[in-house]
Protein backbone atom coordinates (compact mmCIF):
# COMPACT_ATOMS: atom_id res chain seq x y z
CA UNK A 1 0.00 0.00 0.00
CA UNK A 2 2.36 2.66 -1.21
CA UNK A 3 0.18 4.59 -3.57
CA UNK A 4 -1.72 6.49 -0.89
CA UNK A 5 1.53 8.08 0.24
CA UNK A 6 2.32 8.94 -3.35
CA UNK A 7 -1.11 10.53 -3.74
CA UNK A 8 -0.85 12.66 -0.60
CA UNK A 9 2.62 13.87 -1.62
CA UNK A 10 1.30 14.70 -5.05
CA UNK A 11 -1.63 16.64 -3.56
CA UNK A 12 0.78 18.70 -1.47
CA UNK A 13 2.86 19.38 -4.54
CA UNK A 14 -0.19 20.26 -6.64
CA UNK A 15 -1.54 22.69 -4.06
CA UNK A 16 1.88 24.24 -3.53
CA UNK A 17 2.37 24.75 -7.27
CA UNK A 18 -0.99 26.47 -7.61
CA UNK A 19 -0.92 28.47 -4.40
CA UNK A 20 0.26 31.70 -6.07
CA UNK A 21 1.21 33.13 -2.68
CA UNK A 22 -2.43 32.99 -1.66
CA UNK A 23 -1.88 30.33 0.96
CA UNK A 24 0.80 28.13 2.39
CA UNK A 25 0.86 24.34 2.21
CA UNK A 26 2.13 22.83 5.40
CA UNK A 27 1.95 19.21 4.38
CA UNK A 28 1.90 16.37 6.77
CA UNK A 29 2.78 18.23 9.96
CA UNK A 30 -0.36 17.71 11.90
CA UNK A 31 0.51 19.95 14.80
CA UNK A 32 -1.21 22.75 16.60
CA UNK A 33 -1.71 25.78 14.41
CA UNK A 34 -2.43 29.14 15.86
CA UNK A 35 -2.72 32.63 14.57
CA UNK A 36 0.13 34.99 13.91
CA UNK A 37 0.70 38.68 14.11
CA UNK A 38 2.99 39.66 11.30
CA UNK A 39 2.94 36.93 8.75
CA UNK A 40 2.15 38.05 5.24
CA UNK A 41 0.23 34.99 4.16
CA UNK A 42 -1.84 34.10 7.17
CA UNK A 43 -3.66 31.33 5.39
CA UNK A 44 -2.49 27.77 5.27
CA UNK A 45 -3.62 24.27 4.46
CA UNK A 46 -2.54 20.94 5.87
CA UNK A 47 -2.94 17.72 3.94
CA UNK A 48 -3.32 14.69 6.17
CA UNK A 49 -4.21 11.13 5.24
CA UNK A 50 -6.61 9.97 7.92
CA UNK A 51 -6.86 6.36 6.86
CA UNK A 52 -8.40 4.04 4.38
CA UNK A 53 -11.09 1.49 3.86
CA UNK A 54 -10.60 -1.70 1.86
CA UNK A 55 -13.38 -2.69 -0.45
CA UNK A 56 -14.44 -6.15 0.79
CA UNK A 57 -14.38 -9.36 -1.18
CA UNK A 58 -10.98 -8.94 -2.80
CA UNK A 59 -8.07 -11.31 -3.05
CA UNK A 60 -4.79 -9.42 -2.89
CA UNK A 61 -2.93 -12.39 -4.32
CA UNK A 62 -4.79 -12.18 -7.57
CA UNK A 63 -5.17 -8.96 -9.45
CA UNK A 64 -5.30 -5.41 -8.18
CA UNK A 65 -6.21 -4.46 -4.65
CA UNK A 66 -8.73 -1.60 -4.40
CA UNK A 67 -9.26 0.68 -1.41
CA UNK A 68 -10.53 4.14 -0.52
CA UNK A 69 -8.41 6.64 1.34
CA UNK A 70 -9.78 9.57 3.31
CA UNK A 71 -7.71 12.73 3.10
CA UNK A 72 -8.30 15.66 5.42
CA UNK A 73 -7.58 19.19 4.27
CA UNK A 74 -7.32 21.54 7.22
CA UNK A 75 -7.70 25.09 6.00
CA UNK A 76 -6.68 27.82 8.41
CA UNK A 77 -7.24 31.54 8.07
CA UNK A 78 -6.55 34.16 10.70
CA UNK A 79 -7.32 37.85 10.58
CA UNK A 80 -7.40 40.90 12.76
CA UNK A 81 -9.79 43.78 13.27
CA UNK A 82 -9.11 46.42 10.67
CA UNK A 83 -9.64 50.13 10.84
CA UNK A 84 -8.38 53.22 9.04
CA UNK A 85 -5.38 53.98 11.22
CA UNK A 86 -4.54 57.18 9.35
CA UNK A 87 -7.53 58.81 11.01
CA UNK A 88 -6.60 57.48 14.43
CA UNK A 89 -2.98 58.51 14.15
CA UNK A 90 -3.66 61.96 12.74
CA UNK A 91 -3.28 64.47 15.58
CA UNK A 92 -5.70 66.81 13.81
CA UNK A 93 -8.51 64.26 13.80
CA UNK A 94 -11.44 65.20 15.98
CA UNK A 95 -12.91 62.79 18.49
CA UNK A 96 -16.00 62.42 16.31
CA UNK A 97 -13.88 61.52 13.26
CA UNK A 98 -12.11 58.84 15.28
CA UNK A 99 -15.43 57.44 16.46
CA UNK A 100 -16.67 57.36 12.87
CA UNK A 101 -13.53 55.46 11.85
CA UNK A 102 -14.11 52.99 14.68
CA UNK A 103 -17.70 52.51 13.55
CA UNK A 104 -16.34 51.40 10.18
CA UNK A 105 -14.07 48.86 11.86
CA UNK A 106 -14.44 45.34 10.53
CA UNK A 107 -14.74 42.45 12.90
CA UNK A 108 -11.82 40.03 13.04
CA UNK A 109 -14.25 37.12 12.92
CA UNK A 110 -15.87 38.45 9.77
CA UNK A 111 -12.49 38.99 8.13
CA UNK A 112 -11.29 35.52 9.10
CA UNK A 113 -14.49 33.93 7.87
CA UNK A 114 -14.24 35.66 4.50
CA UNK A 115 -10.60 34.66 4.20
CA UNK A 116 -11.31 31.01 5.04
CA UNK A 117 -14.20 30.85 2.55
CA UNK A 118 -12.00 32.31 -0.16
CA UNK A 119 -9.19 29.88 0.43
CA UNK A 120 -11.59 26.94 0.54
CA UNK A 121 -12.98 27.96 -2.82
CA UNK A 122 -9.47 28.20 -4.22
CA UNK A 123 -8.45 24.77 -2.98
CA UNK A 124 -11.73 23.27 -4.17
CA UNK A 125 -11.06 24.71 -7.63
CA UNK A 126 -7.54 23.31 -7.76
CA UNK A 127 -8.21 19.79 -6.54
CA UNK A 128 -11.51 19.16 -8.29
CA UNK A 129 -10.53 20.71 -11.59
CA UNK A 130 -11.01 18.12 -14.32
CA UNK A 131 -7.50 18.79 -15.58
CA UNK A 132 -6.23 17.67 -12.19
CA UNK A 133 -8.20 14.45 -12.17
CA UNK A 134 -5.06 12.49 -11.41
CA UNK A 135 -4.08 14.93 -8.63
CA UNK A 136 -0.80 15.50 -10.39
CA UNK A 137 -0.17 11.82 -11.04
CA UNK A 138 -0.90 9.55 -13.96
CA UNK A 139 -4.58 8.83 -14.08
CA UNK A 140 -4.01 5.11 -13.62
CA UNK A 141 -2.80 5.65 -10.06
CA UNK A 142 -6.23 6.55 -8.76
CA UNK A 143 -9.69 5.59 -9.86
CA UNK A 144 -11.54 8.64 -8.67
CA UNK A 145 -11.66 11.43 -6.10
CA UNK A 146 -14.53 13.37 -4.62
CA UNK A 147 -15.15 15.92 -1.93
CA UNK A 148 -17.43 14.16 0.51
CA UNK A 149 -17.78 16.50 3.46
CA UNK A 150 -16.62 19.77 4.95
CA UNK A 151 -17.20 21.57 8.19
CA UNK A 152 -16.36 24.95 9.60
CA UNK A 153 -15.12 25.00 13.16
CA UNK A 154 -15.86 27.67 15.73
CA UNK A 155 -13.64 30.76 15.59
CA UNK A 156 -10.81 30.81 18.08
CA UNK A 157 -9.34 33.94 19.53
CA UNK A 158 -5.58 34.19 19.93
CA UNK A 159 -4.41 37.57 21.04
CA UNK A 160 -5.50 40.11 18.47
CA UNK A 161 -6.17 37.41 15.90
CA UNK A 162 -9.20 35.29 15.24
CA UNK A 163 -8.58 31.91 13.66
CA UNK A 164 -11.11 29.96 11.62
CA UNK A 165 -10.56 26.41 10.45
CA UNK A 166 -12.41 24.55 7.70
CA UNK A 167 -12.01 20.78 7.54
CA UNK A 168 -12.63 19.27 4.11
CA UNK A 169 -12.62 15.52 3.56
CA UNK A 170 -11.73 14.05 0.21
CA UNK A 171 -12.29 10.43 -0.74
CA UNK A 172 -9.89 8.86 -3.24
CA UNK A 173 -10.19 5.38 -4.68
CA UNK A 174 -6.87 3.67 -5.28
CA UNK A 175 -6.06 0.50 -7.14
CA UNK A 176 -2.80 -1.16 -6.30
CA UNK A 177 -0.89 -4.33 -7.13
CA UNK A 178 0.80 -6.09 -4.25
CA UNK A 179 4.47 -6.54 -5.06
CA UNK A 180 5.64 -8.01 -1.79
CA UNK A 181 8.42 -6.82 0.47
CA UNK A 182 11.41 -8.48 -1.20
CA UNK A 183 12.02 -8.08 -4.92
CA UNK A 184 11.42 -11.12 -7.08
CA UNK A 185 14.51 -12.43 -8.94
CA UNK A 186 14.29 -13.85 -12.42
CA UNK A 187 14.62 -17.63 -12.49
CA UNK A 188 17.28 -19.10 -14.84
CA UNK A 189 15.93 -21.43 -17.50
CA UNK A 190 16.61 -25.13 -17.15
CA UNK A 191 18.21 -25.49 -20.56
CA UNK A 192 20.59 -23.19 -22.32
CA UNK A 193 20.63 -23.58 -26.03
CA UNK A 194 23.83 -22.36 -27.63
CA UNK A 195 25.34 -22.59 -31.06
CA UNK A 196 29.07 -23.31 -31.17
CA UNK A 197 31.29 -22.97 -34.18
CA UNK A 198 34.12 -25.49 -34.09
CA UNK A 199 37.50 -24.78 -35.53
CA UNK A 200 38.02 -28.26 -36.90
CA UNK A 201 35.69 -30.61 -38.60
CA UNK A 202 37.20 -33.85 -37.17
CA UNK A 203 33.86 -34.74 -35.60
CA UNK A 204 32.43 -35.13 -38.95
CA UNK A 205 29.64 -32.66 -38.14
CA UNK A 206 29.07 -29.70 -40.26
CA UNK A 207 30.20 -26.79 -37.95
CA UNK A 208 27.68 -24.41 -39.34
CA UNK A 209 24.78 -26.44 -37.95
CA UNK A 210 26.37 -27.79 -34.71
CA UNK A 211 24.09 -27.43 -31.67
CA UNK A 212 25.23 -28.20 -28.13
CA UNK A 213 22.69 -28.75 -25.39
CA UNK A 214 23.98 -28.15 -21.87
CA UNK A 215 22.26 -28.66 -18.52
CA UNK A 216 21.06 -25.63 -16.61
CA UNK A 217 21.95 -24.70 -13.01
Amino acid sequence: MRKYKQIVDSMIQLLGDNANDQFRVIGYRNQGIRSESNFDVNRSVQVVCLGGKVIPGQSPTRGPFTYDIRVLLKIYASEQSKVDLTVLNNPNSTAQQIINALDAKTSAEYEANESAEEIFDLIFSILLDKRNYGLGLEEEVLNGRSLIEWEKLNPLEYGQNVLICINAYINIQVEELVSGVTPVEAVSPIFNVETEIHDSDDTGIDPSIAVVITGGN
Binding site: Q80, K82, L88, K105, N161
Partner: protein, 128 residues
Protein backbone atom coordinates in the same frame (compact mmCIF):
# COMPACT_ATOMS: atom_id res chain seq x y z
CA UNK B 1 -14.96 50.17 57.91
CA UNK B 2 -16.28 46.86 56.56
CA UNK B 3 -14.22 44.23 54.83
CA UNK B 4 -15.67 44.96 51.40
CA UNK B 5 -14.96 48.65 51.74
CA UNK B 6 -11.38 47.81 52.68
CA UNK B 7 -11.00 45.58 49.64
CA UNK B 8 -12.38 48.28 47.37
CA UNK B 9 -10.07 50.87 48.82
CA UNK B 10 -7.05 48.63 48.47
CA UNK B 11 -8.04 47.68 44.94
CA UNK B 12 -8.20 51.31 43.97
CA UNK B 13 -4.88 52.02 45.64
CA UNK B 14 -3.18 49.18 43.73
CA UNK B 15 -4.66 50.12 40.35
CA UNK B 16 -3.85 53.81 40.77
CA UNK B 17 -0.35 53.26 42.03
CA UNK B 18 1.79 55.41 39.77
CA UNK B 19 5.01 54.07 41.26
CA UNK B 20 4.11 50.42 40.96
CA UNK B 21 2.25 48.60 38.24
CA UNK B 22 -0.13 51.43 37.40
CA UNK B 23 0.13 52.76 33.86
CA UNK B 24 -1.72 55.66 32.23
CA UNK B 25 -4.18 54.89 29.44
CA UNK B 26 -6.46 57.10 27.33
CA UNK B 27 -10.05 56.24 26.57
CA UNK B 28 -12.39 57.55 23.91
CA UNK B 29 -16.02 56.58 24.42
CA UNK B 30 -18.56 56.02 21.60
CA UNK B 31 -20.11 59.42 22.34
CA UNK B 32 -16.70 61.05 21.69
CA UNK B 33 -15.94 61.78 25.33
CA UNK B 34 -12.23 61.60 25.96
CA UNK B 35 -10.63 60.65 29.23
CA UNK B 36 -6.87 60.84 29.47
CA UNK B 37 -4.25 59.40 31.81
CA UNK B 38 -6.45 57.00 33.70
CA UNK B 39 -4.12 54.96 35.84
CA UNK B 40 -4.87 51.27 35.76
CA UNK B 41 -3.16 47.93 35.61
CA UNK B 42 -2.03 46.69 32.21
CA UNK B 43 -1.01 43.08 31.81
CA UNK B 44 0.77 42.48 28.53
CA UNK B 45 1.01 38.75 28.66
CA UNK B 46 0.38 35.67 30.65
CA UNK B 47 1.68 32.33 29.58
CA UNK B 48 -1.73 30.80 29.24
CA UNK B 49 -4.04 33.34 27.71
CA UNK B 50 -2.15 36.28 26.37
CA UNK B 51 0.42 34.83 24.05
CA UNK B 52 0.02 32.53 21.18
CA UNK B 53 2.60 31.28 18.81
CA UNK B 54 2.93 29.48 15.57
CA UNK B 55 5.88 28.63 13.46
CA UNK B 56 6.47 30.67 10.38
CA UNK B 57 8.35 29.58 7.30
CA UNK B 58 11.67 29.93 9.08
CA UNK B 59 10.45 27.81 11.95
CA UNK B 60 10.56 30.73 14.32
CA UNK B 61 7.90 31.42 16.86
CA UNK B 62 5.84 34.52 16.26
CA UNK B 63 4.15 35.93 19.31
CA UNK B 64 0.98 37.91 19.53
CA UNK B 65 0.15 40.19 22.39
CA UNK B 66 -3.12 40.19 24.19
CA UNK B 67 -3.09 43.08 26.62
CA UNK B 68 -5.58 43.11 29.46
CA UNK B 69 -6.38 46.28 31.37
CA UNK B 70 -8.04 46.43 34.76
CA UNK B 71 -9.55 49.80 35.62
CA UNK B 72 -11.19 51.02 38.77
CA UNK B 73 -14.82 51.78 37.96
CA UNK B 74 -14.80 54.92 40.09
CA UNK B 75 -12.05 56.34 37.86
CA UNK B 76 -14.22 56.13 34.77
CA UNK B 77 -16.74 58.68 33.55
CA UNK B 78 -18.43 55.92 31.62
CA UNK B 79 -17.89 52.18 31.94
CA UNK B 80 -17.34 50.31 28.65
CA UNK B 81 -20.19 47.97 27.77
CA UNK B 82 -20.43 44.97 25.50
CA UNK B 83 -21.04 45.92 21.87
CA UNK B 84 -19.68 49.44 22.16
CA UNK B 85 -16.77 50.67 20.09
CA UNK B 86 -14.13 52.32 22.22
CA UNK B 87 -10.65 53.51 21.39
CA UNK B 88 -8.29 52.66 24.21
CA UNK B 89 -4.68 53.80 24.00
CA UNK B 90 -2.26 51.89 26.15
CA UNK B 91 1.52 52.26 26.52
CA UNK B 92 3.42 50.13 24.05
CA UNK B 93 5.43 48.76 26.94
CA UNK B 94 5.68 49.53 30.67
CA UNK B 95 9.04 51.17 30.00
CA UNK B 96 7.63 53.68 27.52
CA UNK B 97 4.37 55.00 28.97
CA UNK B 98 4.28 57.93 26.55
CA UNK B 99 4.34 55.81 23.37
CA UNK B 100 0.85 54.49 23.02
CA UNK B 101 -0.80 51.99 20.71
CA UNK B 102 -4.41 51.98 19.54
CA UNK B 103 -6.57 49.19 20.84
CA UNK B 104 -10.19 48.30 21.19
CA UNK B 105 -12.12 45.36 22.59
CA UNK B 106 -14.34 42.74 21.00
CA UNK B 107 -14.98 40.44 23.94
CA UNK B 108 -17.42 41.73 26.56
CA UNK B 109 -15.63 43.49 29.41
CA UNK B 110 -15.72 41.69 32.76
CA UNK B 111 -17.30 43.99 35.28
CA UNK B 112 -17.04 43.36 39.00
CA UNK B 113 -19.26 45.76 40.90
CA UNK B 114 -18.63 44.32 44.33
CA UNK B 115 -14.91 45.10 44.27
CA UNK B 116 -15.31 47.86 41.74
CA UNK B 117 -13.23 47.14 38.69
CA UNK B 118 -13.71 46.36 35.04
CA UNK B 119 -11.37 44.07 33.15
CA UNK B 120 -11.07 44.63 29.40
CA UNK B 121 -9.43 42.25 26.93
CA UNK B 122 -7.91 44.40 24.25
CA UNK B 123 -7.08 43.78 20.63
CA UNK B 124 -4.63 45.86 18.66
CA UNK B 125 -6.06 47.65 15.66
CA UNK B 126 -4.49 47.13 12.25
CA UNK B 127 -4.69 49.11 9.05
CA UNK B 128 -7.56 48.19 6.74
Amino acid sequence: MGTMATIRRQNRRILNNTKGFGLPIDLLSPDAEEQKDVYCRVVYSTWETSYSSRQDENDQDILTQNPIVTINIEDLDRVPQDGEKWLIKIPQSPLTPDEKIDCTFERPPERNDSIGYVKIYLVKLTQS
